[in-house]
């Protein structure tokens, strides 16, 4: 298929459909409206269903119902709307249902702004709702990657029976880039959804289905949480994805995800011009976080320090610091939404760090 110039949001929506998503429930909020709009146009054409809910709260609960009924289902929103969805997301995690949630992050806190931000990192990677749960968080850095990642997002949701979040800043959603939709055949073996509520009689060849997150006795709740934690360990073992760029024998390592990671690459080129060897670690899965990659890179003798760069005030920084565990200096450069650190600013910061280390 030829490349097509598409907005990130549209590409994400189209890729979701090609990944088998037939149901979408959402509520308008900037800057992600192109996703529901694309779904509203396309899903009826393929025998699916798009429904504009009365609120984000209702939308995520419709996702719960549809996922519980066995469908590939998705919702999307932006920051404030994701906060509203958090109740539903923790219920989805507790009921072990698969679904995909897109968060096209805008500035916060509160109503914030509609400019790009990465301020929801903590919310996405540390659970967000109440209770001991995680969701898998995927962070694309281009329109192409955002579209490629959708099949994986739905597959991971099905395999691990967990909500999966695609976490992108508004720039990824709003910019246009060439995109090519690759063959979207799932390469992974997907479990049969024998737990789905499709209608049951005593003659059915499965148990009566109860989709539920209520575990009233200590024993029941402990069993659920042990199961979830062991599943999370599996995910951490098997599903970490990360891009390493120029990190071998680097003096300085930048850590960044999403749009700002691309700016970091420009900074690395600028630094090369100054004779400084810098590399980049770009987590593609924010949860599970590529701690081992960060740790190994930091352990290199050549590495003087790490610089985490975010469009937020030092959220991913905490995961980088946990991974580095004091082995090297871990500096931070970030802007809390609205403004993005420029390549020059990043390069200057590294040069300053270099002077301090020489």
């Amino acid at each position: 298929m030829a490349k097509k110039l598409m907005k990130g949001c549209e590409a994400i929506a189209e890729a979701a459909i090609r990944a088998g998503c037939k149901f979408f429930f959402g509520y308008p909020i900037t800057p992600q409206n192109d996703i529901p709009e694309h779904m509203a146009a396309r899903l009826p054409q393929i025998g699916g269903c798009f429904l504009q809910a009365e609120s984000e709260v209702a939308a995520i609960n419709m996702v719960y119902g549809a996922a519980g009924a066995g469908a590939r289902v998705m919702t999307s929103s932006s920051s404030c709307g994701i906060s509203l969805k958090m109740e539903g997301i923790t219920f989805i995690a507790g009921a072990e249902l698969p679904c995909v949630i897109v968060n096209m992050m805008r500035g916060g806190p509160g109503l914030g702004s509609i400019q790009a931000s990465q301020g929801d990192y903590f919310q996405a990677t540390k659970g967000g709702g109440h209770g001991d749960y995680h969701m898998i968080v995927l962070a694309p850095a281009s329109v192409q990657e955002a579209s490629d990642i959708m099949q994986r997002a739905f597959d991971l949701a099905d395999i691990y029976r967990t909500p999966v979040m695609l976490l992108a800043d508004g720039i990824i959603g709003q910019m246009m880039e060439p995109v090519e939709f690759h063959e979207q055949e799932s390469k992974r073996e997907l479990p049969e959804k024998l737990w789905a509520t499709t209608g049951w009689t005593p003659d059915s060849c499965r148990k009566r289905a109860v989709v539920n997150s209520l575990y009233i006795t200590n024993e029941e709740l402990d069993t659920l949480n042990q199961r979830l934690q062991s599943r999370y360990r599996e995910i951490q073992k098997n599903e970490v994805t990360v891009e390493e760029y120029n990190t071998e024998n680097a003096e300085f390592i930048l850590c960044a995800y999403g749009t700002i990671a691309r700016i970091c690459k420009s900074a690395i080129t600028l630094l090369a011009g100054e004779g400084v060897k810098a590399g980049l670690i770009r987590p593609i899965t924010l949860w599970p976080f590529p701690s081992d990659t960060v740790k190994k890179a930091a352990e290199q003798e050549s590495v003087k320090a790490l610089l985490t760069v975010e469009i937020s005030s030092g959220q991913m920084l905490e995961d980088v610091r946990l991974a580095v565990n004091g082995r090297k200096e871990t500096a931070f450069l970030g802007r809390p939404g609205s403004y993005l650190p420029s390549a020059e600013e990043i390069a200057q910061t590294v040069l300053r760090m270099r002077r301090m280390h020489s």
């Binding site: 149901f23 429930f25 269903c49 429904l51 809910a53 009365e54 609120s55 709260v57 209702a58 939308a59 609960n61 419709m62 996702v63 719960y64 119902g65 549809a66 996922a67 519980g68 009924a69 066995g70 469908a71 289902v73 109740e87 539903g88 219920f91 009921a95 509520t197 499709t198 209608g199 049951w200 009689t201 005593p202 059915s204 009566r208 289905a209 109860v210 989709v211 539920n212 997150s213 209520l214 009233i216």
Partner: protein, 244 residues
């Protein structure tokens, strides 16, 4: 000898957790019998609430989903849109449907969602220990209206059936009560009719069932039935509120 009355197979053998005389058990039976008589067990999915009926998934012999507080109509919408030929119902109390879940129930009716809501109105929060509900009668004492509900302070009780009957997407709305044998039989017919309305794809249907909460009303089950008759029925008139 022939059986005149026996427990429907649509109820499981699980012993219900409800307090003695709680009318949830009657409503469960009526819903189960309606599903049985319509022969739709294999395609019915129930959505159960937060509140005293939180364990209802143990009692219905059908596939069920447990919803967050008030969100059952949204969950039911998700199920129904995936499987339009399923019979999908919500089972909700007055705190669930008339307080925290008003947006979801109003909008489900507004969309003409082809689901059935079974709305158990006992004028109080049961599971949490007898707090005031939007349906609590003026003057009624609860743990959060210890001096009696004051309408100047927190309004008058909400009549959900009448309100939802004004919505274009509502196809069948009826209020029934469980205070005597005749009314219990009427309640059964109403619930069955609501399911039939859904199966005929006419739109949203809801049956409001005036019920008792002896424990939190501080009355014996028999006294509670009398109280329902004397106090609730006059404020919440029985009958069909909408039929298309």
């Amino acid at each position: 000898m022939t059986k005149v009355f026996q427990k429907t197979k649509l109820l499981t053998d699980e012993v219900m957790h409800y307090c003695p005389g709680c009318t949830h058990g009657i409503v469960h039976r009526l819903v189960a019998e309606a599903i049985d008589e319509l022969g739709v067990q294999g395609k019915t999915v129930g959505v159960v609430p937060v509140g005293c009926a939180v364990f209802a998934y143990k009692y219905f012999n059908i596939d069920t989903q447990e919803a967050a507080h008030g969100r059952a109509p949204a969950v039911a919408t998700g199920i129904k849109r995936v499987h339009p030929d399923n019979v999908v119902f919500t089972y909700q109390g007055d705190g669930d449907l008339a307080s925290i879940g008003t947006a979801e129930i109003v909008q489900a009716a507004h969309r003409g969602e082809k689901i059935t809501a079974i709305f158990v109105n006992n004028a109080i929060y049961g599971m949490t220990g007898g707090q005031m509900a939007p349906t609590t009668l003026v003057g009624q004492k609860t743990t959060t209206s210890p001096y009696g509900r004051d309408k100047d302070h927190c309004g008058s009780p909400i009549r959900m059936s009448e309100m939802l009957a004004t919505i274009e997407g509502s196809a069948y709305i009826e209020r029934v009560a469980l205070n005597n044998n005749a009314n219990i039989m009427k309640a059964k017919r109403a619930i069955k009719k609501a399911f039939e309305t859904q199966i005929a794809k006419k739109g949203f249907s809801m049956i409001e069932v005036l019920s008792t909460c002896p424990t939190n009303w501080g009355k014996s089950p028999v006294e509670a039935m009398e109280w329902l008759e004397e106090n609730m029925i006059p404020y919440y008139p029985l009958g069909v509120k909408k039929e298309v």
